[in-house]
Amino acid sequence: MKIVKLNNKGITTIEVIISFVIIVIIASSLFNTISAYNQKRLIENYKSKIYTYKNTLTKTIEDDFVKIGLTSVNYTRNLQDNMIVNQLDCTLKDGTTRRLIIKQRFTRSDMHPDGSVNSGDYFMIEYGKSDLTKSSKQDQNANLTEYPLPDLGHYTAKYKGVDGQSALDLTINKVSVSLENDSATKNANVLALHIGFYHPELLTRYGINIVTPINYVASD
């Protein structure tokens, strides 16, 4: 038989209140720290997805330019079906053509000053071997692979105070293609392509940069 003498006085109201106050102070001070870390975790997740996308596409394109070699480039920029369509036809040293298509459609939104259509955001990059012997564009682009932008969320865009269409958080905000010329021969000898991404948290920090010589011949 056990004889145990316990303190059975319980906790006083003052003790309970002080404990609660201490817990509330600690919890509120930790809340900001933890929510900042949670935000950081989300941003790192976004970065990781963008890096995977950028690295995959860069390697695919650069592999062709490094292993085969680029001889000429033809760049066009058109408006089709409310979309800006940037198209690069790259002729390689083996006589084949690689086509890169970058499609941009911005919804009606104050966030997208270029946006003028009342339909959702749409961005797509397509790349692959193009058969220029075919007459229709559809046949020419049959072997192109689609590289959809990673999904980093979306929101409903407002245009002049009225709800508009679905706008994506990650967008292709800039496509620039420049050809640098040889100062003596005036022939293009370097292609520089920049596909800029915009994200409200990451801003314009991430993008695809392809720079390669044109008609490069390694000397023996």
């Binding site: 004889i3 145990v4 690295n55 003596a184 000898n189 520089a192 390669t212 390694a218």
Partner: protein, 199 residues
């Protein structure tokens, strides 16, 4: 059945005990935090090391350095017998074609240049550090360079790299380092890369 008579100590903790534990815990958490926080900073720095854009830039600059029309008399490479590095310059090409290509590539890659012929492209020996503590190596030179010679970011990058003590499987004798200043799309940040040069 064992009979036991217990008399519990029901005094609780005294103030001194509570304070000692609180101070101990505070010190512990401060130590953990102060060790953990620099790791995040280091991780953010490494995001700018050897990224895919800089590596392809390094690849094409390496191609130019391996070209026989670059430094055809090997004057720069002879300097590496005594010096630990030399700066790559497009003006060291013989013939206008490769020189123009070099100038355009350096511009398109956004290599960090102070002037036309002063860009942050450094050629070094393949092995950049000496594990025995020798001083005639690139790591030592960068670490002990006078203020303003190299940026602190470049110093951190070189310090972070291995010594490359094991010989290259391609027989490369040299290495090239680049610093790229990204200014496209309102950006302003530096990235760093290096690649071996087989010349």
């Amino acid at each position: 059945m064992v009979k036991k008579n217990y008399k519990l100590n029901n005094h609780g903790f005294v103030l001194a005990e509570t304070l000692v534990v609180s101070v101990f815990l505070t010190i512990m958490f401060t130590m953990i935090y102060s060790n953990y926080y620099p790791i995040i900073g280091e991780y953010e720095k490494r995001e700018n090391y050897d990224d895919v854009d800089s590596e392809y830039a390094a690849y094409w600059i390496k191609e130019l350095i391996e070209d026989p029309y670059y430094d055809s008399s090997n004057d720069n490479f002879k300097k590496l017998d005594t010096d630990t590095y030399f700066q790559f310059k497009c003006s060291d090409f013989t013939g206008s074609s490769k020189k123009n290509l070099c100038i355009n590539l350096v511009k398109a890659f956004q290599i960090n240049c102070i002037s036309d012929n002063n860009c942050q492209i450094y050629v070094t020996k393949y092995q950049i550090g000496d594990p025995t503590g020798g001083t005639n190596n690139f790591k030592y030179t960068v670490k002990n360079a006078p203020k303003g010679t190299f940026s602190s970011g470049f110093k951190d990058y070189v310090a972070y790299l291995q010594n490359f003590k094991i010989e290259s499987r391609f027989g490369s004798k040299y290495r090239v380092f680049l610093v790229i200043k990204h200014q496209e799309d309102y950006n302003n940040y530096l990235t760093y890369s290096n690649i071996e040069v087989n010349r």
